[in-house]
Symmetry: C3
Subunit: 405 residues, 3 copies
């Protein structure tokens, strides 16, 4: 038994099979097939390896963003001056990746819980008390209906924060055009967990000295993380004055595409800006619901009564989006690409064989060269000779005429 195994092992280790091949000496076939094979090789090396970098593995980044606005705005509405600083015009205040800069507003001062008629905007009209069912409210309404129709305004009386906000007329030009000159500082850190690489957008060369005076410019200062709001709006294809009136949403994409086979120094961010919900000049305005606003209330107590200042804030919502993609050499994709390339090589061989065996005039000659046939099993069984299997083989090949091979 032991002998049998060791002999089988010896057989296995001392023998080597390699396929027998026909060497077709033919200019036509040779050139066609070599060109097909060279094409496949060029594809594998040129496209898969060099262009698509198939020898690398990918990892996407985990990012984190801090933002900080700077600048002050000044309004003068019917003689009442007011200054707006960061704490006033940024929502939320703590420097999130997604934030709103107020550019326009409708203020409703001194609201308190009370009963008052609804806004005369055409949607809340009533003719008699029966139009204003008590205790219900309308989708576009501001409060709870008391069941009374106010003759003077021809609208239902509601229990609400009174007086109700009148947002029928949006100030134009926008009240805070100064927002164009505010600056935004973005701090972004990314991690490629698989490669254990951490990078910040304050790359080499962007030190505190540079930060003090730089301002992002597409060509001259593409790495400066301080942006003028007006520049961002312009680069995303909008006009500031236009977007500032009713607000809008702009995406700031920080794009990291890093080839970690090179030095980490080359792993630098790129900044892109684009409108998130349709562009300013888009044809089908009906479809895209442009504009962005929300309501913000400041509560206070006056003469022991709770009051609030309601602001309908129109603003530009900035979304800082981080996309990171790192690539690095790895043995697995390399070998997978090679292995799969060899497979495609096999396809090339199959195509050449088809040409050789079915299309060329001398196809039958090549078929004979390539194939050695056994006779049909059934026939062989019929004339089965008494010799052992080994001899049978010789007999079979002998019997078949003309000798195939």
């Amino acid at each position: 038994m032991k002998d049998a195994i060791s002999s089988a092992l010896a057989d296995f280790f001392f023998e080597y099979e390699t396929p027998r091949q026909v060497l077709v000496r033919s200019k036509r076939v040779g050139i066609v097939c070599r060109l097909i094979q060279l094409g496949v090789l060029a594809y594998i090396i040129g496209w898969v390896f060099i262009y698509e970098k198939g020898y690398q593995i990918e990892d996407t980044a985990i990012g984190s963003v801090l933002t900080k606005m700077k600048g002050v705005g000044y309004t003068n509405v019917s003689g009442q001056e007011r200054l707006w600083d960061v704490a006033d015009y940024v929502f939320p205040e703590q420097g999130d990746a997604s934030f709103v800069v107020m550019t326009n507003y409708i203020i409703t001062a001194g609201q308190r819980q009370a009963k008052c008629p609804e806004l005369q905007d055409g949607k809340q009209r009533c003719t008699s008390d029966s139009d204003c069912e008590e205790g219900r409210y309308k989708r576009t309404g501001n409060g709870h209906m008391t069941g009374k129709c106010v003759n003077q305004t021809e609208t239902c009386e509601v229990f609400a924060w009174c007086p109700v906000e009148d947002d029928r007329k949006i100030p134009e030009p926008p009240l805070l055009m100064a927002a164009e000159n505010y600056t935004l500082f973005i701090k972004n850190s990314i991690t490629f967990p698989q490669f254990e690489v951490v990078r910040s957008n304050l790359v080499e060369g962007v030190d505190s000295k540079y930060l003090k005076k730089c301002l992002y410019h597409e060509k001259n200062d593409p790495l400066c993380p301080i942006f003028k709001l007006g520049d961002i709006v312009k680069l995303s294809g909008f006009t500031f004055q236009e977007i500032a009136v009713e607000g809008g949403a702009i995406g700031i994409l920080i794009d990291w595409i890093c080839n970690l086979d090179y030095s980490l120094r080359h792993c630098k961010p790129k900044y892109y800006f684009h409108g998130l919900y349709g562009k300013a000049g888009e044809a089908d305005k009906a479809r895209t619901s442009l504009g962005y606003n929300f309501r913000h209330a400041k509560y206070y107590t006056e003469d022991r009564v709770e009051k609030r200042t309601l602001m309908k804030v129109f603003g530009i919502r900035f979304n800082v989006i981080v996309r990171g993609l790192a690539r690095k050499f790895d043995i697995i994709p390399t070998l997978t690409a090679i292995g799969s390339g060899v497979g495609i090589f096999g396809v090339a061989t199959v195509i050449c064989d088809l040409v050789l065996l079915y299309l060329l005039p001398k196809r039958d000659f090549y078929k004979n060269m390539k194939f050695k046939s056994t006779t049909m099993e059934e026939e062989v069984n019929g004339c089965a000779s008494p010799e052992g299997d080994l001899n049978l083989a010789d007999v079979t090949t002998k019997d078949t005429a003309p000798v195939k091979e």
Copy 2:
């Protein structure tokens, strides 16, 4: 030298190798092997290509979300009426992808910095001043202990916002059941950066006219981006009244699965709703810490003293999650799939050969057909004939008897 190279090149280009094959004419072997090969082919074409679309590359989306709530709530607690509008019940106010709608609350009005006894909730009990170490605070406590035990309440005196909040009893039914009828408008934009495709959930057909009156319905209006809160809660498997009392967290998944080989019009969002932390009817309530609340304070000054109204807000936290996956034809995955398929074809051949050479009764016959042996290297070296290598080959094959082949 030049001649040698050009001759080698000519050899390379004018020759073509193709493996020689045995054509086994056997019904049994033929059918088995053809079926295996057809199976592999069916797998590659049917599964990898058609079902899994292996000829396409994938890209995941970068998404951005805006939300806007509409609707008013009305409470009447012990005769005190109050109306709640969007600025009152949504946190944060600016329409983020993740936000909270207040459905219930415990209000503690007129808090000011002072000394007062801790809450009698059983956790803060004291019997003497020594139980209340000055300057320390307890994990469940509301303030800094002053070192005094208040006899009346049998709790430590603390320096805190006084009076301390009493959250032992949560109002039931929830105070803002009206939240069920609020509506939520979601604006979602996605970008597939690799394919340079931008889509918004306001797809073709969802125009401002449709938006004015539509309401999301699973079957009738699956593309309307306006949702009734009650519907969302129901579709995620909760009962509104139940979740409204102590709050909860619900995920709104916007799912984009786009085949960009077709027209962009077919790239449409689907909305799914699910509870984020366990379901309402779940067995092991002990494990899943249901409920969601946070504390919100409104600060004001009364008689030159800073005061605040503290609210323990119970609410439903909505998380709008965007998942986008686009696929498009690309040459690399196509060829990789084909190449790898040819490889699997090779496996089929190996299996058939094993059957042929080891399992069939006529295995030795086939072995002889398939293999041509050289004699052992060592032996050959022993009887090395003086002829050139080319003749040696003939000799060797002649010498070996019976003639293998």
Copy 3:
């Protein structure tokens, strides 16, 4: 016609081709080639399958996070006691994945819209009114210049929230060192949409009983989702006192790596902590702009005048980042890996053949064994015999001497 098709089909199904091979009986060649082949096999099985789990597909998670802080802080600035609770020191209040815990602050009480001189911080110096152009503002300024230079302070007069904030001196030690003892509770739910698996970080064993008293500890309680702020800061490599003064940003990474071929019970989160923008002890402090602060205002009305309390908040910004990766057996990557492995096997064969045909001393012998040549097409055409293609083959092989094969 029908006959022809059925005959072709019969041919196809009853025939099977298998490559003819040379069995090279040579110890040297055998061992070298077998070792190469075994190496490839070991790589495919050991590395691709077992180590890299190439038989599995991957899915990344969609996560959602809720956070809740507990604890109170106490400050005593020049005799004025003040207690800070959750509603005071967490921004935003509603328990987002990204939030700020205040550790230090500069308070500017009673600001109102008025005219006052700019801060004497050296950046706003003026010598005459001409240095202060009316209606403009400086990037580092706090308001709108009125065109007047105030002699007393040698700075421009501005219309701003007055008095302007003086942030030249940051309190040290930080006012809210107590933040070190606050606790943070994280609730995290993840979904693997492809596998339809939902998990929460309150895994088996983390029930309400355990939650009441546990505190995260790297080794003893690695699954407890309640963290002491001081511990988080320490584990991320900072000193609390250091980071608390000027603030900082810390990432809390919840890492889910799940092998879904095993029971779901083994799918557990791991918590990692790291500084997001450089480490405390980093050499190039000039480059990394450490510190984190923002401005927060509380508005109130006093004597019918709107005022605000401005706070420059220094704090630690926590970013809870969820990374989920699940793997599960799937037939496609398995077969792709096998197919690509067979391809690499082909590479091994090619290498062995190169050794056999070009490096061994008996290379010509092996070449003769492996290849059967046809004569050049052109020559053959020249002496084309009148026999049919089948006979031609015999003739050709007969003519060529010495008989190749």
